[in-house]
Symmetry: C2
Subunit: 102 residues, 2 copies
């Protein structure tokens, strides 16, 4: 192994390329959302969504807010660190529109 690649880049790529992580972040770009909304709009299973949100929260990319209503409302949203991924998401959008057929 050569491993001449920047470790920060590798780390970023490491979790961005976990299945569903990108879609979850993309979905949250449209605003704070609750668990079940992300689950159904992205099409990810609750088991994995729960796992991913924990990682993203630990990384400081996603924030979790609890509103003690009835029933409880828990909203997930992007932090500044998460919002900083927007240009990247836009690039994927652009690329897909330019190079993939509908």
């Amino acid at each position: 192994m050569d491993k001449s690649i920047c470790p920060r880049f590798e780390k970023a790529m490491g979790f961005l390329s976990q299945r569903w992580t990108g879609m979850i972040i993309y979905q949250l770009l449209s605003g704070p959302q609750r668990f079940c909304t992300i689950e159904s709009s992205v099409g990810v299973s609750g088991r994995v969504l729960s796992e991913r949100l924990k990682v993203l929260e630990n990384e400081g990319i996603v924030k979790r807010d609890v509103y003690p209503e009835t029933p409880v409302r828990i909203e997930y949203s992007l932090t500044d660190k998460g919002l900083a991924l927007e240009p990247l998401m836009k690039d994927i959008e652009k690329w897909s529109q330019n190079w993939l057929d509908a």
Copy 2:
């Protein structure tokens, strides 16, 4: 499931978020390379590298050239479609430098 997300975006995200795919493309941005070079610099196993290169070739993102030397030299490189992913890779680079610690 809502699935209001653009299907082209989903497709792009679908294979960009396969493990190793991003790293392979990033590595190929530095020029045409042979199988064993990608394998060692990226740190991906031959089994998976072989699988990914096939997908990327089918998608028209990577090109495979055979030079019948001794021993045979086979070089993988990015097509225009693949090179068009450069801005995206640069965004990941920038983000990782701004938001991750070394």
